[in-house]
Amino acid sequence: MSTERQQSFYGLQCCLYLIVACCMLLFDKHSKDTIFLRRLLSSVVAPMQYVANSPVHLMSDLHYYFISRKKLLAENQRLENALVEANTQNQFSQSLHEENRRLRELLIAPIKENAKTFTADILRVSHDPFLQQVIIGVAKRDKLEVGQAVVDSAGIYGQIVAVNNYVATVMQLSDSRHAVPVVISRTGFKTVVVGNGPKQSLSLMYVSKTTDVKPGDVLIASGAASRFPADYPVGEVLSVDERQGQRFLQVSVKPYADLEHDRQVIVIEPQRGEL
């Protein structure tokens, strides 16, 4: 085959693959029928992810294996102290929970049973700066659904956006496609907090200039969309900027969840009919 013919054949091939890739992109964006293909491909990817993740696990195991006795004792002491503290706080929160239940009964509001939860390991963080997503390992018995809330020990972490064989994708709060309905705990003002993409921060939407909001205000989930547990902490207002010519305030929020360093997250099982 001559070079010119070779080149034109190469160009033709390239065009063909480009068209297929564009079609897949559009199809994936506008349709949910690609789930089957994703599950099929994830069966191939999942073992690779486990293999790629194994050096990190190995390092972590080696670290614990060679850790000194003195350090272990200190760690044990610290954990025991934390347990005592947590138990004290738990007793306090139990009394609050009881009081809350009684108040709800007075209001004839539907009471939510304590949601079931289970922990999941973060297998890997998406290295694409455009996607603030993590992959979590899933056992077959964990029946996950898209839209389930994910939290960590400090606050809301994100939500599940895809469930494949053995793994699930969690979109973090900071992803620009993510939004959570929240309440400013000091004033009771309801608004929506959205992610800022690669900046790893959040911002409040449509906060008018007359709204009472100031740095340090705590944001808690309002539970309005029935997706995130109500009253769970989301973040804290970092700064409030009033720019000339703009109708709304620029409110920057720092998430409570440790989006960068968490190794484990808690998935909250939805109540029936909740999603």
Binding site: Q6, L25, V45, V125, H127, D128, P129, F130, S176
Partner: protein, 184 residues
């Protein structure tokens, strides 16, 4: 394939005289992409992601420069899909970028015939910036996304890693008895 003119190391071949990988070499061809995917999947944390070199892209550049006649789009297509699934992005997103980049690399390789390793590193960095620009446009069409200056870091690390990756892949070539011909 590679020759020394004084101190300058030249890589690149005209496509009509490029060698073809056969036999056990084919295994290395697929293995190299498999290893590149594994490296892409290594967890390095959110702070490290900005500096992560694009191994799949570098592997693609190696095969395109050294064995252009052996290069098939299907491997790239499959790798792109696997990466999309692994990252949780839209299906076809990485495939689209890789196909565009591979076409541009081939075009550059055929147009100029020879490159020094420094020139290839510059080409890699420029192509990576182009890929980021395309991705930014793509994402702005799909949904709003912020821009961070740190996005500009990855092409530099990718370009800096090129000589190491090329040497490693050539080591693999010699292990799998792939003949690296020197036609000049």
């Amino acid at each position: 394939m590679r020759r020394d003119i004084g101190k300058r190391v030249i890589i690149g071949l005209p496509s009509d005289d490029a060698p073809v990988v056969t036999g056990k070499g084919i295994h290395w061809y697929f293995l190299s992409f498999f290893f590149a995917l594994l490296v892409e999947m290594l967890p390095i944390g959110l702070s490290g992601q900005w500096w992560r070199p694009d191994m799949l892209f570098l592997t693609m550049v190696f095969w395109l420069f050294y064995f252009p006649n052996n290069f098939g789009f299907f491997t790239l297509f499959l790798c792109g899909f696997l990466l999309d699934v692994s990252l949780g992005g839209y299906l076809g997103e990485n495939t689209l970028l890789l196909v565009i980049a591979s076409y541009l690399v081939t075009f550059a390789q055929r147009k100029f015939k020879f490159y020094s390793i420094i020139q290839v590193m510059i080409l890699v960095a420029v192509l990576k910036y182009l890929m980021i620009a395309i991705k930014l446009v793509l994402y702005s069409l799909i949904h709003k996304n912020g821009f961070s200056v740190l996005l500009l870091a990855s092409p530099i690390t990718t370009a800096l890693c090129l000589p190491v990756v090329v040497e490693l892949l050539k080591l693999g070539c010699s292990f799998f008895a792939v003949t690296v011909r020197t036609p000049y």
